[in-house]
């Protein structure tokens, strides 16, 4: 591992223009594998979800998963791509122990989708267009576990265990055209692109796209060229950068590293690099002295895929609203700022708020509870907002109880606490904990009378016109009712009793 002196980010960008290429692999959420009927369920016993085809047994043959093709077309359409009228699979020949056939069934010069773009929105609302080169279908390899070494990498391992459950799971590889003109915002664009793509994939329902589960993996290719130059520099390929934050950090690190090498008169090697989560650095992987020769040729075991135009149009018509468009619509509907919307997005609260509104809550209340109390509790518990043990319907019910005056905010928080603690639905918690705002006029009247009697001095002040002093009496009543009274109503009653206009 060579330690590289980095130049500062600002210095790097003062001299150079970054050019990026992003390759994202998405595991499709199909029930079965791309070319056989084996289950794609995660977490099964190693090698329990295999058959002659995904084990590459002699004589076995592939059959294309129709849902996989449909998903690929949907992704292509959502990325504004052209959809091939006729395309073939190709064999990518290379040797790796966890690849059963020692070729990957992929697509080469006939991808199913090509020439598209994805508009991504940066944090300040600026929209940046990322051009898409292609999206193609392929299959995943098996998984090697290297045993006996210190690092878990193959180096130093005594042996490796192979699990072919993943072999043959459908993948869509989405490749951007070179991203130029992003300048200092390149790392931010990279992150925003991957984030947007992830939202898009989820919205299409073709994959859960969970990066931490390896369902979406990103390679960051980056090169620098002197400002104003036309010819791209030599690129490095940072493999398997598997979180949004890492994508940004990897791009940033490589910009600084390339700049350091180039500024000191060195040359960038075309190589793959490993990204390290701990410090955000990359280290050299394998050097590509010459382009690897995959000896691509059309897969003779499969027939061409020819999506009819009618079918493609049908799929296009059925596409959901794209995430960015939806987000902007919701932002306007909810009347929140760009910044607040970003927070809602980062918190993973968009769909929860939408569902809460659909269940009857008003936008402001729905947003208030999810982004306030519930976000705080999720943070404390270290879980996702969506994983909280409360449904949007239940949150909507809490909002309704508040709106109807049955609960105040303080009580509402207690109701939410009860729901999260598994005490039942909001109404049950209210019932069990006895949390209703005291609205029994008789009981409240008695409490008010007692407070006036006990604080004759204050009562006199109020009678003489110092209405502001009523606060003290309200406090006394609230204390007496253990906070279950509606403070506004208490104030009304006090003023009424004392003959003062509020």
């Amino acid at each position: 591992m060579t330690v590289t002196e980095l130049v500062s980010y600002e210095e790097a960008l003062a001299t150079f223009e970054p050019v990026m290429g992003l390759e994202v692999h998405v595991e499709l959420g199909t029930k079965t594998k791309m070319f056989c009927g084996c289950s794609t369920e995660l977490g099964a016993e190693p090698n329990s979800q295999t058959c002659p085809t995904c084990l590459g047994m002699p004589g076995s043959l592939p059959v294309v998963n129709a849902v996989g093709v449909e998903s690929a077309v949907k992704i292509g359409l959502a990325l504004n791509c052209e959809i091939a009228e006729w395309c073939r699979f190709a064999r990518k020949n290379y040797f790796y122990p966890d690849m059963p056939k020692n070729f990957q069934t992929s697509q080469y010069d006939e991808p199913i989708a090509f020439n598209g773009y994805l508009d991504v929105q940066l944090e300040d609302g600026e929209v940046f267009r990322v051009e898409i080169e292609r999206a193609h279908m392929e299959e995943d390899t098996g998984k090697s576990t290297h045993v006996g070494g210190a690092t878990g990498r193959i180096h130093g391992a005594s042996h490796s265990l192979l699990d072919y459950n993943r072999a043959g799971i459908p993948l869509i590889e989405i490749v951007t055209k070179p991203i130029t003109g992003a300048g200092e915002r390149a790392p931010e664009v990279a992150k925003a692109y991957v984030a947007e793509l992830r939202e898009l994939i989820k919205a299409l329902g073709v994959s859960e796209a969970r990066m931490e589960m390896g369902q979406m993996r990103c390679d960051v290719n980056l090169s620098l060229m002197p400002k104003g130059a036309q010819k791209f520099g030599t690129r490095s390929e940072t493999k398997n950068v598997n979180s949004l934050r890492s994508v940004e950090r990897a791009a940033r690190f490589e910009i600084q590293r390339h700049a350091a090498v180039l500024s000191s008169g060195g040359t960038i090697l075309q190589e793959t690099r490993h990204f390290h989560e701990e410090d955000g650095s990359t280290t050299s992987g394998r050097i590509k002295e010459e382009a690897e020769d995959y000896r691509y040729f059309p897969e003779p075991d499969l027939v061409p895929v020819a999506p009819s135009r009618e079918w493609v149009e049908e799929l296009r018509a059925g596409l959901p609203e794209l995430p960015r468009v939806r987000r902007n619509r919701l932002r306007e509907e909810w009347g929140v700022s760009e910044h607040d919307m970003q927070s809602i997005l980062n918190a993973g609260a968009v769909d929860l708020i939408v569902a809460t509104i659909e269940a009857g809550a008003d936008a402001a209340s729905a947003r208030k509870w999810w982004m306030g109390e519930l976000s705080r509790r999720a943070n404390e518990a270290g879980t996702d907002l969506a994983a909280m043990e409360i449904t949007p319907e239940q949150v909507a019910r809490v909002c309704a109880l508040v709106a109807e005056g049955f609960l105040n905010d303080k009580l509402a928080r207690q109701v939410i606490e009860g729901v999260l603690a598994g005490e039942g639905a909001p109404d049950e918690v209210v019932e069990k904990r006895g949390l209703k705002v005291v609205s029994d006029e008789g009981a409240l009247g008695t409490a008010v009378d007692e407070a006036i009697a006990a604080n004759a001095g204050i009562a006199d002040k109020i009678r003489s016109g110092k209405v502001a002093a009523a606060g003290a009496l309200v406090g006394a009543v609230m204390k007496a009712t253990r906070g279950q009274a509606d403070a506004a109503r208490v104030r009304e009653l006090i003023l009424e009793r004392l003959g003062v206009e509020g």
Binding site: F95, S160, R295
Partner: protein
């Protein structure tokens, strides 16, 4: 010699169905024949005695229970060792799969079992079906029952020899460049390469995916048709399988006729390299067709001269990729895994020990032909030739119903004669390869013995894709006429073993 083994498949099926013979009797007779002659012939790599008898007993039990029997119930069959058989070794004639017991049946194997065909065992073949003599088998050569010092053809020499030696009335072959038809020709038997996609390739170990095609082998045209009908048909597990009704091959075989048919003779299928006796018998066959009422049309198919070259780029290219899976990781041979070597080293040692010279030659050829920078010149050009060949066939079939030619330029050559000369070996498939490249159908059937060596000569009949029934219609007519002329089936002239 037991009379049972001389019966045709059609006769056996009828006798088993009527109860005149039991499937067990039939199976035992053939197993006895194998015991008697296979040491000399070496048609089989594996005889599944127990499995065959169990199947036969089941057929007899079914009959006793009054259940409906399959169309070829109780008929024994020799299966080329390229189709997977669950629980029964499948080697493809290679050391690299020695000891492998497949966990699944090929679709073809399943169809045979479903039809109550009794599988006697697995037959010898050139390693990975690469060859024209069965000498490339890692398990030793097979002898031609006409003359045990001669080759039985290849790659399916085991299947054709089993038929000619009366070890089985039916056999299965696969044909990538002629591996069903050329062995049929040199052993005096019948072999059919159906239209590409007619017979499922699922469970058939791949040599060259876009050319490989399984098909029936038999001693008579009708038997081949009966077997064809059992094994053909759409299979959802093979994407290249044709989803259309199987052409009426049995009906055609029962109604042989060439009256009024136009039969093409291709100019390119004769000349240098063709044995005089082969040409003589072929010309007589053409005369016979005329006598039987066919109209003969001369055809010019210039692209056929390029077929061999195109084939030896496409087939090796595909095989270089298909055979990459033999890496010692999951099945078959593993050499040198002593705990000190890397996976790559073990793979290399295994391949070195497990693949024979012809397989290595073709893998290297193919790897080279597919490399970037050479792809267009080699693989790309070969694909263009393939298109030209298809066009020549298309044009020809506008003028004729079938095409005829010699199946192979010479009769059976001596074992060892061409072993060191790959080019001479490749020429054996000169007449058969164009059909594989175009994907249409063809048959070889006996048309006499060459006067100079007394060995069988094959007549090839070629039909358009999915017109396989024409092969049987013409084949049955020719077979009937020749049998009448000779006074008996040609195999009667083979010396007894």
């Amino acid at each position: 010699m037991s009379e049972i083994i001389k019966l045709t498949a059609a006769e056996i099926a009828a006798k088993v169905a009527s109860g005149e013979l039991t499937a067990v009797e039939v199976t035992e007779a053939h197993l006895a024949r194998i015991d008697a002659v296979d040491e000399k012939v070496h048609a089989f790599l594996h005889v599944d005695r127990e499995g065959a008898l169990a199947q036969a007993r089941e057929v007899d039990a079914k009959r006793e229970r009054g259940e409906e029997l399959g169309p070829l119930a109780g008929v024994p069959l020799a299966l080329k060792d390229i189709f997977t058989t669950k629980g029964v070794p499948t080697t493809v004639g290679s050391k690299i799969l020695e000891g492998w017991i497949p966990p699944y049946d090929a679709t073809l194997t399943k169809r045979l079992k479903d039809a109550d065909v009794v599988i006697l065992g697995k037959t010898n073949m050139d390693e990975f079906a690469m060859g024209s003599s069965t000498e490339n088998s890692a398990y030793g050569p097979t002898g031609n029952p006409w003359d045990l010092t001669k080759i039985p053809g290849g790659s399916g020499g085991g299947s054709s020899a089993a038929l000619a030696a009366y070890e089985a009335p039916l056999a299965i072959g696969t044909d990538t460049g002629g591996s069903i038809r050329q062995p049929a020709a040199v052993t005096g038997t019948v072999g059919v390469k159906p239209t590409y996609g007619a017979v499922s390739r699922y469970g058939m170990v791949a040599f060259s995916s876009s050319l490989d095609q399984g098909g029936p082998c038999a001693r008579t045209v009708l038997d081949a048709a009966l077997l064809h009908e059992v094994i053909a048909g759409h299979d959802p597990l093979d994407s290249t399988s044709i989803d259309a009704p199987v052409p009426p091959v049995v009906e055609a075989a029962r109604n042989g006729s060439v009256a009024g048919m136009r039969v093409g003779v291709v100019k390119q299928f004769r000349g240098e390299g063709y044995q005089a006796g082969v040409i003589q018998r072929f010309d007589e066959s053409v005369e016979l067709l005329k006598e039987l009422g066919a109209e003969i049309v001369e055809l010019d198919c210039p692209s056929f001269d390029l077929a061999l070259a195109a084939y030896y780029l496409i087939a090796p290219s595909e095989c270089s990729s298909n055979l990459a899976r033999f890496d010692a990781m999951r099945y078959g041979l593993r050499v040198g895994d002593d705990g000190t070597r890397s996976a790559e080293d073990v793979t290399a040692l295994t391949r070195e020990a497990g693949f024979g010279p012809e397989v290595k030659r073709r893998v290297m050829l193919g790897t080279y032909a597919l490399s970037s920078g050479y792809y267009d010149a080699y693989y790309g050009s070969a694909q263009k030739v393939r298109t030209l060949i298809s066009r020549d066939f298309d044009k020809s079939f506008e003028q004729v119903d079938v095409i005829v030619s010699p199946t192979t330029p010479t009769t059976a050559f001596a074992i060892g004669e061409r072993a060191d000369d790959p080019m001479a070996m490749y020429l054996a498939d000169l007449c058969t390869i164009p059909t594989n490249l175009a994907g249409n159908s063809a048959m070889s059937l006996p048309c006499g013995l060459a006067p100079e060596d007394g060995l069988p000569v094959g007549l090839q009949i070629i039909a358009p894709a999915m017109k396989d029934d024409r092969l049987y219609k013409v084949g049955a007519a020719v077979e009937a006429a020749f049998t009448e002329r000779w006074g008996h089936p040609i195999l009667e002239e083979a010396p007894s073993l």
